[in-house]
Every structure is written in C-alpha cells, then in structure tokens.
Amino acid sequence: MPFLRKLLPKLSLASTLGLALLLASCASESGGLQSQKIDLIKGRGKLICGVEGKLPGFSFLGSDGAYSGLDVDICKAVAASLLGDPSKVEYRDLNSSERFAALASGEVDLLSRNTTETLTRDAAGGNGLSFAPTTFYDGQGVMVGAGSGVKSLKDLAGKPICVESGTTTELNLADRMRELKAPYTPLKFQTGDQTYAAYLQGRCLAVTSDRSQLAAKRTNFPDPAAHLLLGEVLSKEPLTPATTNADPVWSDAVRWSVYALMQAEELGITKANVAAKLALAKANPNQADLRRFLGVEGDFGKTLGLPADFVVKEIAAVGNYGEIFDRNVGPGSKLKLDRGLNRQWSQGGLIYSPPFR
C-alpha cells in the first residue's frame, strides 16, 4: 500500500507535533505557577488527605472522633501551610491496594500513609508518584529482654529468635545473620499474635519485625520497660508522604512544607516559641536567615505557590518535626520509640533539610 506508506511519516510527524504542542501547553500552564491542584484545594477550602487510619502512632481515631498520629500531623501541617488552618483536612482511610489509584484519580490530594518510597513507586513508568521528604525512617528491628544481656545481633548467635513465617522479615533476618556468620534458631509462627506470645513466654530470646510495629506491640506487654529495641536495623523502610507527579507545583509545595518542619527543628523554632521568634525576626533586620524562613522578607512562599507566612502557620499548628515525632511515636507517646535514624543530621540522623535559600 504505497498510499499508506507515504501517509505514515506525515501522520507520525503530525502526531509528534500535536503531542509536543500538548506538552508545551501543559508546561506553560503549570510553569507560570498555576497549579490546578492548589487552586482546587483553595476553592474547596480543605485538603483531602489519604491516611492508613489503623496504625498506632501514625494514624488512628481518637475517642473524640479526631484523627491523630505522625502521618496525620503531616496532613495538618500541609493544610496549615496552604490554607492557614490545620483543621481544614478531610481524611480518607485508604487500604494499601487502593492508595495509589486514589492519588492518581485525584480522590486524595496528598498521600500520608506510611508508604515506603521505592523506585517503582516513584518512576513515571511505575506508579508515577512524587515523594516528599521521608518523615519516618522505619526498618526491621529486633527486640530483646532488657535483662538478657544481648547488646547486638552478634550476641544472638546460637540463640532462638521468634519470627513470623513467610514474611520478608524472616528472609532479612536470615540474610543478616548469615552475613554476621552467627547461626541461630528461628522459631517460626503463622501469626503476629503467636509470635509475640511465644516471645513473652520466653521460648525465644528475641523477636523481630518493623521497629514501629515492635514498639506498638511492646506497649501491651505486662512490663514494657523490660524490653529493648536493638540499635541495628535490618531493612530500609523510608515512610514517605507522596503526591502524583502530574502537578509539580503542588508536589514542591508539599515537599517544602515538610522540609520546613525539619528546618524549624534545626533552628530551634517550636510551637511554643514561634510567635516570639517571629516578633524577634520582625524587630531585628539583621536576622536575615530567620526573616526569610519565617516569611518576613523574601518570597519563598510566593515561589512555592504558598502564602508568605506558611512556615509560621505550620509550626504554630503542629510544631516542628521533633515535636511531631515525640508526641506521636517518641517519648511523649505510648510507643516510646527512640529517635534513631530519625535524628537531625547534626546529631547523626537522616533528617536533613536542604537550605531555605
């Protein structure tokens, strides 16, 4: 078919041109800091935030019907920074199978649901998410009795360890112990409940699972203080809020709203002193860094499509990252998790905000 053969290149040229035009128009739409998502959220007057809803310390319903937890506080912080009010959030409980579809179809604006950041989830050819900074570095941990004398994984050589069978947890433990050349006796159980029951009966010296999970289970033990989490972490589970990568302006706004929480901790700005710091910044023209961070001068907010005082609003609403951590999963909560990897970079942790400049 010579006719078709002649037509095809033309067709493909035309379609390429059309696609380019389409892309260009899309780019120009979002390039001038026009974010459909931000406009939509502002018009609606509330942020729709996808949470897990059933995870101790991260998101759960309090007796008064209010959501709380670390993931929930991230929703509140973003709502405060964009809309100026942390209560303007509508929460959607999402299960793990529908979370990405809910984000992609626009049913939720922000996914703050203990989601591990991975390549396939981030890639445009995968789930096409745009990840904000990691808000909780979880990972597989090991719990032992405080009086057992076990200080590290190596001390567990030749000892029985309780694991849930058929989980990645089991495989990670086997890999790590082989690396350490420390043979051990795995005691495998079908369910989490059986595993912890066996540990409490003393049938094994240690039990392994995700650290946040171990800490949550520990709160139920007869004597929670008698159990310790070892410092070693066997796997990487960076739990990270996400948006779709369809609207880069919105993704950046979320990203820097989260960074602001971390930067505030680094600068020592807390929920309690943010008003005082703001007054200080206003009165003192020499405090250029603080003035820019709190939106007294410069146009950080405008650059992101957020109000100028977004940092102040956020911190006043939920406090800085350290306060959020302590309140929900740290010493101020029943989980009593150690900061561990979630310390500020200046103290040897991974919480690191790029400069606000």
């Binding site: 509508e90 959607r92 579809a101 709160t219």
Partner: protein, 403 residues
C-alpha cells in the same frame, strides 16, 4: 423441678448410656466455655475501650454539635415503633379477632426492653444525661405502644391509612436529618460512621435491591429474548464475582471513569454496589418463588380478564413473594453482614471504626472486648430482622395453611 420437666429432660438427654455420656460431655464442654467467657468478661476484660469510644461506635465522626439530629431521629423511630406495635395489636385484622392488646409475648418483650435500657447504658458507664435520654426513649416507645393499642380501633381509618405511610416517610425524614438540607447544616457522608453508617448502607441496599430483584426475576422469566438474556447476563455476571472485587472495582475504577467529581461519593458508591450485588441474589430467590406458583394461577387470572401487570401484581407476585420471604430475609441478613467488607475499602463502618479504635495506642490489644461487642451488636440487628420476618410470615400465611 417439676416432674414433667424432669421426665422430658431424661427422655431428651439421658435416654440410654451413650446418650447420657454425650450429654454430659457436651454440657460440661459448653458450660466450661460459658464459664470461661463470663469469668473473662467480668474480671479480666477492660471494657473502658467500649465506654470511652461508645459515640464513635454508634455514629463515627458525626459532628458533636449536630448529634441532636440523630437523637431526634432515634426518638422518631422509637415513637413509630411504639405506634406500629400498638396498632398491630389493637386493630382488628381481617382474619383474626383482637385477642388481647397485651399478649404474653408482648409483656415479656416490654420487660426485656425496660431491663435492657435500664441496665445497658448504666453498665457502659454513659454520662447521666445520655442515660436519661435512653430511659426517656424507652418510656416514649412504651407509652405510645399503650396508647396506640388502646385507641387504634377507634381511630381505625387514620391508623390503616397512616401506618403504611409512616415508615417510608420516616426513612426520608431520617435521611434529611442525617445528611442535612432543608435548612439543616450539611453533614457530609464521609463524616458518617460506626453503626450509623452500617445501618444506612444496609437499609439503602435492602430497600432498593428488593424492587430491582423482583424486576430482574420477572425479566429472567420473560418471553422477550432481550429482556430475558439481559437479566440472565446481569444476574450471572454479578453472581460470578465476589462482592469484595466489585467494591474494589467501584472504589478504584469509578474515579477514573467519571472524572471531575462526577463520581458519587465513595460511601454512595459502596451503597450502590451493595444494592446491585444484592439485587442479583434476590432475583434468584424471587425466581424460586415465582417458579413455585402454579402456571394455572397466571392463566386463570388472565382468563378472568386481568391484564399482565394486574395478574402479576395481584395474583402471582403476592404468592411468589410470600414463598420467597425466608430466602429474601436470609439475603438481607447476609447483606447486613456483608457491610463489614466496607472496612476493607477504607470506609469507617462499624468494623472499620472498631479497627481504627484498636489502633489507638491507648487501647492497643483490647481486640477481644471490641470484637465481642461488635458480635453482640450484629447479632441484635440480624435477630431483629429474623424476628420481623417470622412475624411477617405468620401474618401472611393464610389461616388454612399456617399453624
């Protein structure tokens, strides 16, 4: 122990040595389990998780300042229950005379009701004003029951006309009270939860799937090929897919198919899917009923000069639906229980709320208390449906057939 009881016990449980052995084993097994449960419930269980979250279990995240609307609705339901109950006893029926305005069963029911409403709120440690409200509601129900039983026969016209209208009207009023509109503040569907959401979803699906099921059953038996094959395809497609698959489909796909906020809220999406699902099963129950009505009935009705709709609605369907009633109510009960699947798609129905409450670090590990409470609540709802259906069966059976 009276001799009659003793002899019947002996006959039923200890007729011969093997019977006796089995009886002793079974009774001691059941007894030990029952003792264990009661011992646990009274001494070890920490019911504070239920006390502290009772509002959450009942209505979910419904705004506190609007909860008076739900109380009003409960009061209206109590009033309507009292009126209907009294009128059913007080009105002379076509097929039976008024025997007694307060038969023995009714007296027992009233005593159980009073005991339950006196004990349960106190046992749950609810606040005084709320306890008082439950007492007032019980009193309202019983007073109206008494009044209606006494005066229904005098106001016969009003009662026979009003009663059938009362419940549909109440349902509409209830939806307005719950959701808002007509001058009331709107309370979005995503703020409904707990038992409230479970009951809304179940009642919505039950009410809409019943007519849809009848239409599908008639369609499947129709002589028009398009209608027949359409109905068959629909029924077989729905019955071929598990409910949870359809629910996931609705939650995940509809958002893409109907963009821009056209898709109904996910609560209503789930309600419609429950409806469509249940309709397919109901259609089969009704079809069984239709098949049990002899062909001659339809032919006789037609030969008397009734047209098809008249023959169906006056002769065939009343008989078919009566036969299909037990299967239909069975479907309704399983529909009520199927609403627990909504917790898997992230809705805060009774089970979803419970799972969320159990994640509260304050109540970690209190799952036994929570699940037991849920089981009792579901049992109450399903038992009510079952009781209602048995009463309806007795009433619908022609006197010559029924016991």
């Amino acid at each position: 122990m009276p001799r009659v009881v003793r002899s019947s016990l002996r006959k039923e449980l200890f007729a011969n040595p093997i019977d006796g052995l089995v009886s002793v084993l079974l009774i001691s097994g059941v007894g030990a389990a029952g003792y264990g449960l009661i011992h646990w419930a009274l001494t070890q269980a920490q019911w504070v998780v239920i006390q502290a979250n009772s509002t959450l279990f009942a209505v979910g995240r419904y705004p506190i300042e609007q909860q008076w609307r739900l109380w009003l609705l409960v009061a209206l339901v109590a009033a309507a229950t009292g009126l209907s109950w009294g009128a059913l006893r007080g009105l002379p029926q076509r097929d039976r005379p008024i025997t007694a305005v307060w038969p023995r069963n009714d007296r027992i029911a009233a005593i159980v009701l009073v005991a339950l409403c006196g004990w349960a709120p106190a046992a749950l440690g609810l606040a005084w004003p709320i306890q008082a409200r439950w007492w007032a509601l019980t009193a309202l129900l019983l007073v109206l029951r008494w009044l209606a039983g006494r005066y229904a026969s005098r106001l016969r016209k009003v009662a026979t006309l009003g009663l059938p209208l009362l419940w549909p009207l109440l349902y509409l009023v209830g939806m307005v009270l719950i959701g808002g509109g007509l001058g009331l503040v709107t309370v979005g569907a995503n703020e409904w939860g707990g038992l409230l959401l479970t009951l809304i979803e179940a009642s919505f699906a039950i009410l809409l799937s019943a007519p849809l099921g009848v239409v599908l059953a008639l369609g499947r038996r129709s002589s028009l090929p398009l209608l027949r094959w359409g109905s068959i395809a629909y029924i077989e497609f729905i019955r071929g897919a598990p409910l949870i698959t359809l629910l996931f489909l609705g939650q995940n796909i509809l958002g893409f198919l109907l963009p821009g906020g056209l898709a109904p809220d996910r609560i209503w999406r789930a309600a419609w899917i429950l409806t469509f699902f249940s309709a397919a099963y109901l259609a089969e129950a009704v079809r069984a009923g239709l098949a049990a009505v002899p062909r001659g009935q339809l032919e006789a009705a037609r030969s008397l000069g009734l047209n098809l709709p008249q023959a169906l609605s006056r002769v065939v369907l009343p008989q078919a639906l009566r036969i299909a009633l037990p299967a239909t109510v069975g479907q309704f009960i399983s529909l009520l229980q199927d609403t627990t699947l909504l917790s898997l798609i992230g809705l805060l129905d009774l089970l979803g709320t419970a799972r969320s409450v159990m994640a509260n670090p304050l109540y970690l590990g209190k799952s036994a208390e929570v699940y037991l409470t849920l089981a009792v609540l579901f049992w109450c709802c399903c038992a009510a449906l079952g009781l209602g259906s048995r009463a309806l069966e007795r009433r619908l059976n022609p006197p010559t057939l029924g016991p």
